[in-house]
Amino acid sequence: MDIRFTDCSVRFGERVALQPLTLTITERRVGIIGLNGSGKTTFARLINGLVKPSAGSVTVNGLDTVKDERAVLSEAGFIFQNPQHQLIMPVVADDIGFGLKNRGLKGEEIDKRTQAVLSRFGVEHLARRRVHELSGGETQLIAMASVVVTDPKILILDEPTNQLDLRNRRRVADTIATLDEDTLVITHDLPLVENVERLLLFHEGRLAADGAPQETIRHYHEIAGC
């Protein structure tokens, strides 16, 4: 991936969520950590254009998040914290198919791709299940499948293991590790980002540390005071 922040800052009314930042990311596995309110979520949302910069610009693989809004959404998939909010159709296969239908694909092709992506995540047996009946881990995996099925180049995952028990965390973590797409993972779950190529630490709207995971995590402990 090639993500560039150029003098980018974000303010919501009076509050400065992100101080001016200039940064380039080319690694394949990136992690983002920080205390609540540190700006990490705002940073992540700048990448797929959910949040627009108040000043400066963000480009993703050459596309500007403001000028090429639609293309950026195709380029960068975003998986939200609470998978419950992510799935919008009552039956699993319909949710996955909805994104494909929207891109103009037809019945057979949709079924084929749905099957393929569900298999990839090891949940093909859940295709006709009602979303309401899924466990937390299953919901998160299906939410990921529903985004991945539209072939984004980059995946941004916002606290993907937030609501999960230990076993499901492992399951989701293992799945993320095997993804072909480039990934940016925001998390409080430190084991999830121990092995990334580059780990960013945000604090009070600024980039407080940036580099190898061990070093950044150490820095995080210092900031958190524990």
Binding site: I88, P90, F98
Partner: protein, 201 residues
């Protein structure tokens, strides 16, 4: 919780295209309201009743579906008996029952998908005017079906929490929190929909 009223079957009405059924319902309504002939209403009632009963529902289920409407019809018919001649009351009552039975038969033999396809076609002129998008209606429908079970679970959770705290379980104290907690999710759900690029044209 949200199983549609369509039942599987292979009756004549099942095989009739949705549009034909809907047009027939409209035509029947117009016809029956234009005439005050008792014979016509009676024939319509018998045919509609026959169609409804041929659809494949058990007697109990068939009755359950139209029971409440029939109750209102009979109640008002009883009132009418004091105010209108018997012949006229018969016409009015048979007419309504015929329409209700035919409508119920259409509902039982048409799938949600079938209805939605028709609605998509019906919406085309409005889509051209830019008033509404058929894709948005499908999305909205999906969203409702998706979230009803979650909201119901939430209702039960609130009720339980009230009981646990010894609070009286009154609708007033539950409806407020239920609505707030549910509507608060709208922002994230909308963000997720936008992030998947669902509504860009």
């Amino acid at each position: 919780m949200l199983t549609s009223l369509h039942i599987e079957g292979n009756s004549w009405l099942h095989r009739l295209p949705v549009r034909a059924k809907l047009l027939a319902l409209v035509a029947l309504s117009i016809l029956l309201f234009l005439t005050s002939s008792l014979v016509v209403q009676l024939i319509a009632f018998v045919i509609s009743g026959g169609l409804y009963l041929s659809v494949g529902l058990s007697w109990r289920e068939a009755l359950k579906r139209v029971g409440f409407v029939f109750f209102t019809i009979f109640f008002l018919a009883a009132v009418n008996l004091f105010l209108l001649p018997l012949n006229e009351v018969a016409v009015l009552t048979l007419r309504l029952m015929a329409l209700v039975l035919f409508a119920a038969a259409v509902t039982a033999t048409t799938t949600i998908g079938g209805f939605m396809d028709e609605i998509t076609v019906l919406l085309t002129p409005f889509e051209r005017l830019g008033w509404v998008r058929a894709a948005d209606v499908s999305l909205a429908l999906g969203l409702v079906l998706r979230f009803v079970p979650d909201i119901f679970t939430r209702y039960q959770a609130i009720r339980e929490a009230h009981r646990a705290r010894g609070l009286p379980v009154r609708p007033l104290t539950i409806i407020g929190p239920l609505i707030i907690l549910t509507l608060k999710d709208a922002d994230t759900i909308a963000a997720a929909i936008d992030a998947r690029g669902f509504r860009r044209q």
